[in-house]
Structures are given as structure tokens and as C-alpha cells.
Symmetry: C2
Subunit: 216 residues, 2 copies
């Protein structure tokens, strides 16, 4: 069966965004430093409609993720920031041609119509919880994987619900000193993972883990 994966960039001190995120600086102070390896990668640039970039090992890791992803699940803040009703940016902040190129399911408490964007990205808004979103994403993904794009609370919810199969963390060489913690304090029993791959470059270390099924 296709996997439920998380691929996420994290600082050495465990943050996926820096302090004080805002509509102007959604990744928070220093948050861009987590993604410099991706910004430089040819595969990232291509998925964002840009040319150039480096065809290096980091780019291959990202391309592999892109190729194996059939649908995306994300939180509402990752779609457009903020909370509450859908003003002032009903189309999100990913532009007319978002970099996903697959169906995206946005978890929210505020129902709205689907959006069909350029480049094969669509946004569906799911109001009945993480399992319903996953079910829709699985159906859309076919035999490809469902990617949890973030934010941290979405990853935490799926991990706690034992719905996450694989976790790939891209550790960027930066200490952010604060921000949004990927794991926070999950409050679960100690959970052993299986380390399945490590790929390192000077810019980032890609750690991949299989999350075993639990028998609780």
C-alpha cells in the first residue's frame, strides 16, 4: 500500500519555523535558513517554475519525494496563514501555479469550495478531521504516497494517531533558538523508529525513518 510520508526541514534544535511568523514572514525569523538547501536544488526550482539550480544529491532527494507523491495534506495555516474565516486571501499564498502539482487537502474548521489551480494543483478543504482528509488523499493519490506537508501540528496529529508510515527529516545546520517545534512534547510512550537511510551534504543531512506499527 502507498505510504503516508512526512518530508520536512528542521533546525538542529528541532524547529520547522523560526520565532514570530507573520503573513510577511511565514517561516518566522531565520526560517529561510532551513530551506537554503532546497532553494538551491534544481528539482525544487523546477517544481516552482524556475530554471537552474544544482543537480546534486539534495536535489535527487527532493525529486524522489516529488515523484512518489500523489496527494498532499496540509494545515490551514500552511495554505494561507491565519485562523478564522477565509478573508483576506481566499486563494492562499501559493500563487496561481502552486508548487504541488497534485491534489492538496487542507485541514480546516471552515468549509469552502474547492479551488482548481494551474499546473495540476487543486485545493480541497476538509472539515471532518485528519482521518477523513487522509482517506480522500489516499483515493486521490492512487498507488503513490500521501505527503504530509505540515505544519508541525499536522505531523504531530498523524504521528499520534499512528497514521504516519515514514518520516524524512532534513536537518539544516542552524540553531534557531525558538519557533515552531516539529515534535514539541508529544506525550506518547517511547517509540523506536527504524533508520532506513542517511544522505548528507554540506548543506543538509537527510534522515529517513520508518515508523513501525504500534500494538497498543
Amino acid at each position: 500500500m502507498a505510504k503516508v510520508r512526512c518530508d520536512i526541514s528542521m533546525s538542529v534544535d528541532g524547529f520547522v519555523a523560526g520565532p514570530n511568523p507573520s503573513l510577511e514572514e511565514p517561516l518566522g525569523a531565520g526560517g529561510d535558513l532551513l530551506h537554503e538547501w532546497a532553494f538551491a536544488a534544481a528539482s525544487w526550482r523546477e517544481s516552482h517554475g524556475l530554471s537552474g539550480g544544482e543537480a546534486n544529491a539534495d536535489s535527487e532527494v527532493l525529486q524522489e519525494s516529488i515523484d512518489s507523491t500523489g496527494a498532499v495534506v496540509m494545515g490551514r495555516r500552511m495554505f494561507s496563514g491565519g485562523e478564522g474565516a477565509w478573508e483576506p486571501d481566499p486563494r492562499g499564498w501559493w500563487g496561481d501555479d502552486p508548487p504541488f502539482h497534485v491534489p492538496v487537502f487542507v485541514l480546516t474548521h471552515h468549509a469552502r469550495e474547492s479551488l482548481v489551480m494551474k499546473g495540476d494543483t487543486s485545493f480541497d478543504f476538509v472539515t471532518d478531521g485528519i482521518e477523513a482528509a487522509l482517506e480522500q488523499a489516499r483515493a486521490a493519490a492512487g498507488d503513490k504516497d500521501v505527503l504530509l506537508a505540515g505544519g508541525a501540528s499536522i505531523v504531530q496529529q498523524y504521528l499520534k494517531a499512528e497514521l504516519l508510515d515514514e518520516l524524512q527529516i532534513h536537518i539544516a545546520p542552524v540553531v534557531l533558538g525558538g519557533g515552531t517545534s516539529l515534535f514539541d512534547r508529544l506525550g506518547i510512550e517511547p517509540l523506536g523508529l527504524e533508520a532506513t537511510r542517511v544522505i548528507a551534504s554540506p548543506s543538509v543531512t537527510h534522515l529517513r525513518f520508518r515508523v513501525p506499527a504500534r500494538t497498543t
Copy 2:
């Protein structure tokens, strides 16, 4: 000049000890899982007066740290747990032949006489702060490194004071769900590190970083 280093095992979610540490279980719930790679290593076993173990890459990483360490700095809880005055265990919980085999400087608010143990380990108790402890440790280490053995708050204090030169984190494949966070929220400006080495085995990934001098 000899370096000030930290070598520490950490969970994927950033903890160096599990929840609810006690005198009976000083590493907290699940904390042993952080050190399984070390317990299995020939070099760790030798430093603890045991025979056997595996002579693998993990063992070499640990041996390298042992060979380059001339003195150790640790916090009071790492010496013997607890707080306040020095009862009930005035000799700490490392036994008569502690695994350090170099002078150890223990940061504490409670002055006491030095202890000389078997196997070249001594404990000196430093009450006038992290810089004083480092000065004494540097003098004792000669041209070898000063190792910050922990706990987390000691590492945080030296990192914030810009006194840490190198950070090696051994990432164990486990999510602890809570406990003692290595970095917590340091509240410093984003600090770029230089990734200098990655060594991976199925049991652990050793990430090494140089901490650049700051010009604040």
C-alpha cells in the same frame, strides 16, 4: 587551541533524557534507548571496565572522543542527581572507578572537597560559574579538549555564552515524547553552524558541527 566540545545522544524529537528522571532511573522513561548504540560499542565497554562489544564505526566515534578529551565539565545532577546539600550520596553515582579517566569539574552551588577516584578520574566542585569551571578544565586538559558531558542546561549555558566550539549529536532512532530537551528554546539569534561530518549506522547517526565565533 584545544576545543570545547559537546558529545551527546539525543532522540529524534530532541530529548537527552526521557520523562520523569529519578535516582533509580536517572535517564528517565525510555532514556536508555538513546544509548543502546554506546552500550554495544567496544570502546564504551572498555571505558566502563567491561570487555567485549562491537568494534564498529560507532565504537570508533566514541573512541575518538575519549582519546581527545583531557577534562570534563558536568552539572551537579549528572554527578549525583538531586539538588541542595550533598546528602545522601557524597561520592556520586558513577562508582569507585568512574568512566571518565580524566579530571571532571562539577558545576554546583554547594562547595565541597575534591574527590580522587580510581582510574585517573577526579571530581572538583566549582561554585563560581561556567567560565571558572572552563578555565580550570582547560588547565587540566593541556592540549586536549574539554568535553561538556551534560546535562542539557550545561550545554545550553556554554552555547549561549559563546564558549562552545564543537557540537556532536548522536541521533538515536527513537521518539521519546517528552523529557529533557537538549536545546529547549535558547532565545538566541539564529546561529548558522558548519556541518563537518556525518557518520551513520543502523543504530545511530553522528552529526558533527563546528560552532562559529559570533561577532555580536
